[in-house]
Amino acid sequence: MVITEGLYIKTKNKEYEILTRFWIKIFALTFGIGVATGIIMEFEFGTNWAVYSRYVGDIFGSALAAEGLFAFGLESTFLGVLLFGWNRVKPWVHFVSTLGVFLGSMFSAVWIVVANSWQQTPAGYHIVGEGLMARAEVTDFWAMVFNPSSVDRVIHTWQGAILAGAFLVLSVHAYYIRKGRYLEISKKGFKIALVVATIFSLTQLLSGHSSADGVAVNQPAKLAAMEGHFEKKAPADLYLLGWVDKENQKTTGIGIPGGLSFLVHQDFKAPIKGLNAFPLEDRPSQINAVFQFYHIMISIGMVLIALSLYACFLWWRGKLFETKWLLWIFSFAVILPQIANQVGWFSAEMGRQPWVVYGQLRTSQAFSQEVTSSHILFSLILFLVVYSILFVLFIYSVNKKIKHGPYEEAKKPVSFTTS
């Protein structure tokens, strides 16, 4: 939206305005559902994870407060102007609002991921109290914010989100082009999103590598689980596909022998600490799941790179929009970054187990002692039902808006006539 509206302001080309208005409609729906379901997270810390909340409040709290004040405040106030301000403010003021929403959501990610990264690699704190009353207190705010994993993970999360957006745009415009609808604007939209997708799928590879390097240093047990590496001290392999047999401590699959050692130490023979180097109670329990989720994420990342590069190649040869099969793939590829983002989080969070704060607080000790299992069952069923309904409605409405297409809006009594 920032790019298309920026182009509209610069070129005064109505096609960019149509694109912007169309994507704002889709965004409005996503954002609305996102906020509604997101607020639950903020309160769930207290309702379901009371011990954890008391433990991390001193640290987590300031990040969360900063998120609310600096980021959420920015995006939510400008959202009103973004959605309903077209006829009330000058174009450049509207553009500033779009920019505000963009920056707000990016900042949001910063503070949330900082908080989560602190759980992965705690820094800038000390522990006060004991047992159920123990808690972490900030000693150095900036060391807490820039803890060893936060920069890598913020970038990785940002890029994951940008890719999810770019592939949604690619998907919808590919669909229009295949159907021969809205050709001109769809080609423009597709090209813009393709540039974004190509850049960020490539940089995502770098950031992923840097992130994994960080895991190797800071969370060796997690890295070992990600690659299913058991031996205490041996070169570790890098798998493309595989299966971890936890009972027999064996990982079978196709991969590069010593590949992980090479990536971490630039040496195929370098030993990597395996899972057996850690006491049983300090290892993630779902090793195969961590392994699989991690590898699905990487495979999808590779597919996204291949897709975008091939599309760029065809664009260069001038055949991009004639290659129907590729457009067909792009129509469905929207699901790929979504899956990658989800499984990436799964492997990051499951790989951190059994800790909720790495090396400090165990997940099994962090939940609300007073909340009974019947309470949990009640809330699980409640939200399962509500979220399922929302999911169906969301898909239905987005689909409807896409089927309607961008001109549907133009038919209503507004200014532009290009079509």
């Binding site: 207290g46 309702t47 987590f60 300031s62 609310g68 009330r88 019947s374």
Partner: protein, 345 residues
């Protein structure tokens, strides 16, 4: 203990959170109130105008809940954790109604069918009312106290124990207060027949509020006299209830003079004074333990470290003016009566 302007950090943070919650009550108060009146408007066009009166601002108003929750988590983690886990069921319901309300606003306009719009109208109105009601219920429970044992552990566990007569009374009081606020806000945003109807509805809302407020106050004085302890020690505090009474009394006068903006300010003041009342009653306790006062959660045993509170006060000092500027810009942009256009719901 660190001090700023002669006030200790936990007390300052107590004030910040109080300010955030009263901002939330004032702003989302008219959103929820408008939602509660929704089914009283008969025509689809009236309902559309009512929804579009809050459409550009309700997301922004929600910020106050997010920041308030974050501030509570940050400033008083013990309070945040103990309160939310002790009132698990009401908070889960509160969150669910928030989700449903957001969904109703987004999806209502997606289809033209009568049954579709009617369904979402009901979801929207019921969830707005229920949120207002539940906020009162939570407040009442805080005033009554919890069965807190050592280590802030909550000893009670009955599923619906949060729903006692007192809680229901306070629930109706917040609902009626929000409905008053909502009606005034809609008066500010509407014209013609709908506007006339709202003048009439506002009167009903005020009567509803005065009755529930009077009943609740009486009940408080008779059955839970301990909450007025702080007042008996310092009679000067009685100025607050008197001020809130004066503020309420001013609203009908201003409405009849058509000074809706001022009326909205005065009904907001009423809300703030009532919250100040609660804040004085509690201070410095946050959650009273009904088992033994030594197990109570206070602003001192619940607070984050002095360093952390200091950092966050800095964040607030930087962030608050920014947020104020955003809100000024937003409300200035959407000043005036609702005009439906192609971007409306």
């Amino acid at each position: 203990m660190n001090y700023f302007l002669g006030v200790d950090y936990p007390t300052l943070w107590y004030l910040v959170i109080g300010l955030l919650f009263s901002g939330y009550a004032i702003l989302e108060g008219f959103d929820f109130g408008a939602g509660a009146w929704h089914l009283f408007f008969k025509k689809d066009i009236s309902r559309r105008i009512a929804i579009n009166a809050i459409a550009p601002v309700w997301d922004a108003n929600q910020v106050w809940l997010v920041i308030g929750g974050g501030a509570l988590f940050a400033g008083f983690p013990v309070m945040y954790a103990t309160m939310l886990s002790a009132m698990y069921v009401p908070f889960m319901l509160f969150l669910m109604f928030n989700v449903l309300r957001a969904a109703a606003i987004k999806f209502r306009s997606a289809e033209e069918m009568r049954w579709w719009r009617r369904t979402w109208d009901i979801v929207y109105s019921v969830s707005s009312s229920m949120i207002a009601f539940l906020l009162g219920v939570v407040l009442a429970n805080i005033l009554q106290g919890f069965a807190l044992g050592p280590n802030f552990s909550y000893q009670g566990d009955a599923f619906f124990s949060f729903l006692n007569p007192y809680a229901i009374m306070v629930g109706f009081t917040t609902l009626s207060l929000f409905m008053t606020q909502g009606a005034i806000y809609l008066l500010l945003k509407t014209e013609g027949r709908l506007h006339l109807r709202l003048t009439f509805l506002l009167q009903k809302g005020m009567i509803f509020f005065i009755i529930s407020f009077a009943v609740t106050t009486l009940y408080t004085l008779v059955f839970i006299p301990e909450v007025t302890e702080n007042f008996r020690e310092k009679p000067i505090y009685f100025v607050v209830p008197i001020l809130s009474f004066l503020a309420v009394a001013n609203v009908p006068r201003l409405v009849s003079k058509k000074r809706y903006m001022l009326a909205l300010i005065f009904s907001s003041l009423t809300m703030s004074f009532l919250l100040v009342l609660v804040a004085i009653q509690l201070y410095p306790t946050l959650l009273i333990s009904t088992i033994d006062p030594k197990y109570s959660v206070t602003i001192y045993n619940a607070a984050s470290s002095q360093k952390s509170l200091g950092i966050m006060l800095t964040i607030v000092l930087i962030g608050a003016p920014l947020l104020g500027a955003y809100f000024f810009f937003l409300y200035r942009t959407f000043n005036g009566k609702v005009k439906l256009d192609d971007t409306s719901y």
